[in-house]
């Protein structure tokens, strides 16, 4: 069976976040997830795209963020691709929620939300092509 997929390319501007999260939520529903799970997928995608816009592209709005949504038999995969500053898997450090609550501060929660709401979160940095990727996977059922 062929796996369906589609792509959306947006400018690297936060004004398009609502569009992207709406799409992610609808994609999760189409994949067969319930409303609560679809909402979590949309939050994870918001965080991932926000990270690309604010950190990989340092808030510069003239770049592109590409979302590739893949429907497989077992999961929904959302790949977020960009040419900004990449991050390697070994550079990812998740904050400890208990420590965070003891010492409240701004920032640092996006990656934690992504990891809690998705089944798999991975990062790839391709130094050769300059194309970097964040991959979010939510299993169906």
């Amino acid at each position: 069976m062929d796996h369906a997929q589609f792509r959306l390319v947006i400018p690297s501007q936060t004004r398009y976040l609502n569009l992207v999260t709406g799409l992610a939520k609808r994609a999760a529903l189409v994949a067969g997830m319930d409303d609560a799970t679809a909402a979590k997928v949309s939050i994870a995608v918001d965080e991932a795209v926000t990270n690309v816009i604010l950190h990989a592209y340092h808030g510069e709005g003239e770049h592109s963020v590409e979302l590739e949504v893949r429907f497989t038999e077992v999961a929904l995969e959302i790949h977020i691709l960009h040419t900004g500053q990449g991050i390697r898997q070994d550079q990812v450090v998740l904050p400890d929620p208990k420590e965070y609550i003891k010492h409240p501060r701004k920032g640092g929660l996006g990656l934690l939300l992504m990891s809690r709401f998705m089944d798999e979160v991975s990062f790839k940095e391709d130094g050769g092509s300059g194309r970097n990727e964040c991959c979010l996977i939510k299993k169906i059922g």
């Binding site: 936060t14 965070y100 609550i101 920032g107 709401f117």
Partner: protein, 119 residues
């Protein structure tokens, strides 16, 4: 329709902030400014009534986190009420329901805020 609109009410001596729509990296500055204006005006007990809040990302959580110490140092607090299921899930997943007092409705929150108002 705007992604976020914010209404501020004064109820029984408590500043009640009602965000409607989405709080994300695009809208968070408006939310932050509304909260900061209350604190600068000496309003240290703030109730966030989230009945019309569809969604909050970590940007919004960071804005709340950024003010919690200030209001508590002044004897106040930030309370939450009327959280929709997905908004509650975000707070609860991160353990924030231990950090903030969460109420089912505005009336319960206002009753709990009474001691702070007297102080």
């Amino acid at each position: 329709m705007a992604d976020l609109s914010i209404e501020v009410q004064e109820v029984d001596g408590v500043a009640v902030l009602l965000p409607a729509g989405f709080i994300n990296a695009h809208t968070v500055r408006d939310f932050e400014e509304a909260m900061e204006a209350l604190v600068k005006g000496g309003r240290y007990t703030i109730l966030l009534n989230c009945r019309d809040l569809s969604y909050i990302s970590s940007a919004g959580l960071g804005a709340i986190m950024g003010l919690i110490e200030t209001v508590r140092e002044h004897g106040g607090d930030i309370l939450l009420s009327n959280l929709q299921e997905n908004v509650f899930a975000i707070f609860d997943t991160l353990g924030f329901t231990q950090l903030y007092r969460v109420f089912g409705d505005q009336g319960e929150a206002l009753a709990a805020a009474a001691p702070e108002r007297k102080g």
